[in-house]
């Protein structure tokens, strides 16, 4: 059996880097934990290449197989990708600017941003749809959920104050007192849970994300 199996190498590297980063945060020792963070970003760039390749392979596969209902979108995706990459490279060649490339900025402002905002707008519709399904008070707990949601909503909208100045008060109290207290308690518990998860990962016990 090999002395260092794949999983063991991952655990040893994880532990060494984690100790350096932790020591960097809590001590003034020259352990250069920040350097590892920079390395992580560089490694992430390689992972971006891998993930990008995977996505291109997925779309090329569907385009070649002419998958029903999908191949047109896959072809369109590749056309848009080619336009973005080529115009980006052209902008770089013309302006010698890797950042603040004017062509990219134009695409970002005139194509990406409006689509992004339009999709963002869907949130409101889906929230209403989900609220309708939830607020049918099928059980005691959904009845409580519904009443609390109603009070919080009344505490947030302008019209409730116009109806009666005291109408928003219960909802605002729920948000700022029990709501905030509960959220802070959950945040503390999550922080502790996260540290324990990290300790398990550093000691090689947490294996859910590790390959064989």
């Amino acid at each position: 059996m090999s002395l260092f199996q794949r999983r063991e190498i991952v655990v040893v590297l994880t532990t060494a880097v984690a100790v350096a980063v932790i020591a960097d945060y809590w001590t003034t020792l020259p352990v250069y934990g920040g350097t590892f963070m920079e390395w992580a970003v560089i490694l992430g760039a390689f992972a971006m290449g891998l993930a990008g390749f995977s996505t291109i392979r997925y779309h090329i596969g569907h385009a070649l197989k002419k998958t029903k209902g999908l191949w047109v979108f896959s072809v369109w995706w590749m056309i848009v990708l080619a336009i973005t990459v080529l115009t980006g490279l052209a902008g770089l060649a013309l302006t010698f600017k890797a950042e603040d490339n004017p062509i990219y900025i134009w695409i970002l402002n005139n194509v990406y941003a409006p689509l992004n905002i339009a999709e963002y707008g869907l949130t409101g519709f889906f929230t209403i749809s989900a609220s309708y399904r939830l607020l049918r008070a099928r059980t005691k707990s959904s009845l409580v959920f519904m009443l609390v949601a109603l009070l919080v909503m009344l505490g947030s909208i302008a019209i409730s104050e116009a109806i009666w100045s005291q109408l928003p008060v219960p909802g605002q109290w729920i948000s700022s007192v029990p709501g905030a207290a509960g959220e802070r308690g959950a945040t503390i518990a999550m922080g502790i849970g996260s540290v324990i998860f990290a300790l398990r990962a550093m000691t090689g016990r947490e294996r859910g994300y590790l390959p064989e």
Binding site: A40, V41, L50, L134, G193
Partner: protein
């Protein structure tokens, strides 16, 4: 001074946690601690069975709001990968299709490896299809891609794991409309209400970090959960002491925390 000022108390808490964890791991060797079961895990099992019966796929997806594996919440994405491994182990014997959608490039190789490992472990490496691990970066392309997958492939079970922004509702509500059984696992406090409204079951907060230990049935891992519980109770006592002392005009706890 070697230690950075203003961080001494947090270092003391970390060291206490390390000592406690070590102690309870040693103790767990003799008697495995009792850990309550998670209803969401049973729900996932049931949902996968239902998906296989319906001949529809199962989907696992991350949020797009966090900073991936780089951010402070990177751990929760890793924890969600533990659930991915569990889901894969459930779908393989049932010959169901599992699709993993991901918004973080650095997580992509890990997701591929987790799935591949489970297929190999189940003796079905030929069933693994790399095209079922899908990546779309950033919020808007990710949500669009996932909504497209929902519309075309109509998964019957979805697990939402990781850090979420409002993609929680934008994805989970249409998923409910197509008849998917949704289970969420998140630490995003402001999205929990959305998930409560649109999912059948969920892991909230620190439960997400405990799943791996629970699934492994490894006494070492389960022992580590006990130390977390003890620290939570200790901090609760500290908070109550802080409230009491502050009410009496003493700021000793505040000074301690700031040390």
């Amino acid at each position: 001074m070697v230690l950075r000022s203003g961080r001494i108390f947090s270092l003391a808490v970390l060291l206490a946690l390390v000592v406690l964890t070590y102690y309870f791991i040693r103790k767990a060797k003799k008697a495995r601690p009792k850990v309550r079961s998670f209803s969401a895990l049973e729900s996932l099992k049931m949902a996968v069975g239902r998906a296989a019966e319906l001949g529809r796929p199962v989907m696992w997806l991350t949020g797009a709001a966090g900073e991936g594996l780089y951010g402070r919440a990177g751990n929760v994405t890793l924890a969600a990968m533990g659930v991915l491994g569990y889901l894969t182990s459930l779908v393989v014997p049932l010959k169901a299709k599992l699709i993993a959608c991901n918004a973080y490039a650095e997580a992509h190789p890990l997701i591929e490896e987790v799935m591949k490992t489970e297929y190999i472990r189940a003796g079905k490496p030929e069933m693994y299809d790399a095209n079922n691990v899908r990546y779309s970066p950033l919020w808007y392309p990710y949500v669009t891609a996932v909504l497209g997958h929902l519309a075309r492939e109509r998964p019957a079970a979805i697990f939402f794991g990781g850090v979420f922004g409002h993609e929680s509702i934008v994805i989970s509500e249409p998923a409910g409309v197509i008849g998917s059984f949704n289970v969420a696992g998140t630490i995003s406090a402001n999205q929990m209400g959305y998930f409560a409204a649109t999912c059948e079951d969920w892991f909230f907060g620190d439960e997400m970090y405990a799943i791996g230990a629970f699934l492994s049935r490894d006494p070492y891992q389960m022992g580590s959960l006990t130390s977390g519980d003890i620290l939570k109770w200790s901090l609760l006592v500290l908070i109550l002491a802080g409230i009491l002392l502050s009410s009496l005009g003493s700021n000793i706890i505040v000074q301690l925390l700031a040390s």
